[in-house]
Amino acid sequence: MDLLRLLSFGPDGWGDELLQGTWLTIRLALATVPFGLALGFLVALAKRSPNRYLRAFGNAYTTVFRGLPELLTIFIVYFGGQIALQRIVGLFSGATVEVNGFIAGMVALGVVFSAYASEVFLGAFNNITRGQYEAAYALGLRPATTLRLVIIPQLVRLALPGLANLWLILLKDTSLVSVIALDDLLRKTGLAVRVTKEPFLFFGVACLIYLALSMISSIGIVAIERWANRGLRRAS
């Protein structure tokens, strides 16, 4: 059939292009997570810090990046990053710099991810009882060791449902990077539409691919949660 040929792999089908786009979407989402998690954790620590200014900074960070549209954050990081880098490079040479779309997308999505993740971490922190800290103190553990050996393992378990949710949102938000000329799934689909004039088919297929990605993620999330809860006694 004609429509199937359009989706096939090879020179006259768009299957391989869509697959390339999907691969970039997956890579972008995967690259964003570690960056966003680390940043989110630091922001959560800042919000719990005894220092007033750090707390204010953490709260302002969350308010701003949870309030801004993701699309606007992407534009600000992409164009703003370009200007900032140009200024820095301009100090040393006259070369023009081009911001890598992948990095810009990763930073923008990571910043948004971290703002939400910091709230998840904060909630998880609040669910760890004082007794845990006191017990660690009584054992003579140093604060850094307490964090590493006692708090973080529990934190991971408590934060996982929230973080899993953020991952599913991130997967969808990656589609926004298509506006900064990054060849993700949605942009490749747009190219296919422009050539074939079959928008309904191709955007429909793109939606189904996103659905498939989130279904696969859900399976992975269940497995990770089972692993994280392995030390937990279940009420029978």
Partner: protein, 228 residues
């Protein structure tokens, strides 16, 4: 500050903000109307109704809003002759309308999920007490379950409104001149990065106002649940 650009594009950005708010208010309202039958269908005894509403919610919650907008806006063009035949083409030709339609379907799915969770969170004892008072199922739903469910749903609904304000910015990509659209236009004319920062401030102000108003609303509506 670039005062020239502000004088030229400031008023247009405020007009864009009005378009953004129109998009949000219309979509959220229509989505709320849509969400009630969908949530009920999701919990109905009929397997077909459950499957249809599940498919609808799963699709719109699992795919990016931007892809949905493209699907409706560009996809409609493909069915031009059919749409012309039933006299709806003038609607689907309009990017604003396509966005409203997509946003409504999108937020309807999210709101239905919120509503379903809230209805299930109403304690079973409430329903049983109403039944033992001899109320009919319809009365129980309208007078006992729904008022309590809406209070439970209030907070996530507020979040959904804020998500819609942010999400509505994708309308700019299909040529709607909402706040984001005007900002992109201003940037392409002036190449002045400031316009993005002004837009950021406007979005933050809107989101913050909604958050505060919603907090007040929730505080007021739940006043009977607080002990003095």
């Amino acid at each position: 500050m670039n005062w020239d650009a502000l004088a030229t594009y400031g008023p247009r950005m405020l007009q864009g903000l009005v378009v953004t708010l129109q998009l949000v208010v219309i979509s959220i309202t229509l989505g709320a109307l849509l969400s009630i039958p969908v949530a009920l269908a999701r919990m109905s005894r009929s397997r077909i109704l459950r499957a249809v509403s599940f498919g609808y919610m799963y699709f719109f919650r699992g795919t990016p809003l931007l892809a949905q907008v493209f699907l409706v806006y560009y996809g409609a063009g493909q069915f031009r002759t059919q749409l012309e035949a039933i006299g709806l083409w003038w609607l689907f030709r309009d990017a604003f309308f396509c966005c409203v339609l997509t946003f409504t379907l999108n937020t309807g799915a999210y709101q239905a999920e919120i509503l379903r969770g809230a209805i299930r969170a109403v304690p079973a004892g409430q329903r049983e007490a109403a039944m033992s008072l001899g109320l009919r199922p319809r009365q129980i739903f309208r007078k006992i379950v729904m008022p309590q469910a809406i209070l439970i749903a209030l907070r996530p609904l507020g979040n959904e409104v804020i998500l819609m304000v942010k999400g509505s910015s994708v309308a700019a990509i299909v040529t709607v001149f909402d706040l984001m659209g005007v900002t992109r236009l201003a940037y392409s004319r002036t190449f002045d990065f400031q316009v993005y920062l002004w837009a950021a401030v406007l979005y933050l102000v809107v989101v913050e106002i909604i958050r505060r108003v919603w907090d007040k609303l929730e505080h007021r509506l739940t006043r009977h649940m607080r002990s003095a």
